[in-house]
């Protein structure tokens, strides 16, 4: 099949970017979306043109590195990561618009690559539990109810790709934070720092320039890991509780 690509090109963070049109022939429907871009880059290389920069790492949907806005949807039309999207989701002759995540907290580094360091700094502000190093404790010494363990595990599948921010009309990272807050809040080990965690993470989120949540739900629709909207309720509840505790 043949596709027409409209891709955002931007040489570096300081320069202006623009949309460029490319045609790719002989696309197999079994190719992943990123393999299709690899083919285009081979062609660009052969013509001595600068290849298109995009992020990818594991290419098996678990690392959170890839992420493109494809025809107005983060990671494209399927509920999965960009690397796990295949060309069979498109038709011969389709025009595909590819843009980087758009959020001022995620500045464009080059072409389709954005700097998601803001997520790292949010995690740095409390997305962890503090434990003393030493011998691993006996796993059964702290009992976790099955429901709590399941919920913690389900939301811990968040890979921090940033699709929620990319989809959100407010550029909010509430689904990402909610996933982390819920994951650690469901477990006994997460209780000691529960109040300070939520306040510090939300303060860092606001400081990075992400917008506020208006509960629209485009984030959860875009999430490749199907993190549910109720983690944002949990996030709000934890912040309210911290407020009541005087934080």
């Amino acid at each position: 099949m043949k596709v027409t690509l409209k891709i955002w090109r931007q040489p570096d963070a300081a320069s202006d970017g623009a949309m460029h049109t490319y045609e790719v022939d002989d696309v197999s429907e079994d190719m992943s979306f990123l393999e299709m871009l690899d083919v285009l880059n081979e062609q660009l290389n052969a013509r001595d043109e600068e290849p298109i920069a995009f992020d990818s790492d594991c290419r098996e949907g678990i690392c959170g590195m890839c992420g493109l806005m494809i025809n107005g949807e983060p990671h494209g039309p399927e509920v999965t990561t960009t690397c796990q999207l295949h060309m069979r989701s498109f038709k011969d002759g389709d025009e595909i618009v590819i843009e980087p995540w758009r959020a001022d907290a995620f500045p464009v580094v080059k072409d389709l690559c954005v700097d998601r360091g803001a997520f790292d700094r949010i995690i740095q502000q409390g997305g962890y539990i503090s434990v003393n190093t030493g011998a691993a404790p006996e796993a059964h010494s702290i009992q976790v109810p099955k429901e709590a363990a399941d919920r913690a595990f389900d939301v811990a599948t968040c890979i921090g790709c940033g699709a929620c921010v990319a989809a959100c009309p407010n550029g909010s990272a509430s689904l990402f934070m909610g996933a982390k807050i819920t994951h650690l809040g469901e477990l006994p080990q997460g209780q000691a720092e529960r109040d300070t965690r939520v306040v510090s993470m939300v303060a860092q989120h606001d400081h990075e320039g992400f917008g506020g949540c208006t509960n629209i739900g485009e984030c959860t629709a875009a999430c490749p890991k199907e993190i549910p909207l109720d983690v944002i309720s949990q996030l709000n509840k934890d912040l309210r509780t911290a407020l009541q505790h005087g934080h």
Partner: protein, 274 residues
């Protein structure tokens, strides 16, 4: 005696970039570069210290949720009063008078009414101020827009909140000029009789039209806003609670829109008349 000192050399912006080891001895100085580091940007990202829950965007949302739920209580009470129009001239006017004598003699005449007015104005200031602050933040959070953007997963009402809210605010100002502060009777009749003012107003088709458009906006605002308030208050932590909150919000929006709209429609149809 030989001595070695370490010294950073700055880059073009003066940020430490290259580490030199300078050896000083009897035979003179020798300099060796021992390390380089990638300079950090001039205005690098910073971490927040001394975070307070009351200075977060979620706190603003909590204030919006609480003031919003107070408005929900108000519109339901207001709607109940309006529906008294179906009971006729005397019942409607008696209700209007009862609002003023509520709580007397413990409260002065119109005392309860003024307490309500002050609370409503305070809620309005909080609701609008927080909305404006969050609106501005959202604008700044994405200054470069997408060429193509779909809104998968969003209901239309949720995308109408801000401009819909502005529309409702303009309507409220108009509505107060019409019935409370200015008391305008476009048909030239008396304005000191609430029931007759109501009938004269909604007998005019374009006033009824403005009212119906405003009620549609209010319905949309409540449809998303009520569920959103529950979510912001952290009361929708499970899929079941979320479904229930969304259903409640829809029912509330429907009841309020229909409950307010039938009075002017029935006036225009001649069912409610002088």
């Amino acid at each position: 005696m030989a001595r070695i000192t370490l010294e950073w050399e700055g880059d073009a912006r003066g940020i430490p970039h290259v580490l030199h080891a300078i050896g000083t001895g009897p035979g003179g100085d020798s300099v060796a570069t021992v390390a380089t580091q990638t300079p950090s940007p001039v205005t690098g990202p910073t971490l927040v210290a001394g975070a307070r829950a009351a200075r977060t965007t979620i706190y603003l949302k909590l204030l919006m949720a609480l003031s919003g739920l107070f408005f929900v209580g108000f519109v339901l009470t207001h709607m109940y009063g309006n529906l008294k129009a179906f009971a006729g001239h005397d019942a409607f006017n008696a209700y209007a008078e009862h609002i003023r004598t509520l709580g007397t003699p413990f409260l002065p005449y119109s005392g309860a009414l003024w307490i309500m007015r002050v609370l409503l104005i305070a809620s309005l200031v909080v609701h609008v101020a927080c909305a404006a602050a969050l609106w501005r933040r959202a604008k700044q959070a994405r200054t470069v827009r997408y060429q193509v953007k779909k809104h998968t997963g969003a209901i239309f009402a949720s995308r109408l909140m801000r401009w819909g809210g502005v529309t409702i605010l303009l309507f409220v100002i108009w509505h107060l000029l019409n019935f409370t502060i200015g008391k305008v009777n476009v048909q030239g009749g008396p304005t000191n009789d609430p029931y007759n003012l109501l009938v004269d107003t909604f007998d005019t088709w374009w006033l009824t039209l403005i009212y119906l458009v405003a009620m549609a906006m209010l319905g949309a605002h409540l449809h998303h806003g009520t569920w959103s308030a529950f979510q912001t208050l952290g009361l929708t932590g499970t899929a079941r609670a979320r479904t229930r909150a969304k259903r409640l919000a829809f029912v509330l929006a429907f009841v309020v829109t229909v409950g307010f709209s039938i009075v002017p429609i029935f006036v225009l149809a001649g069912v409610i008349s002088k």
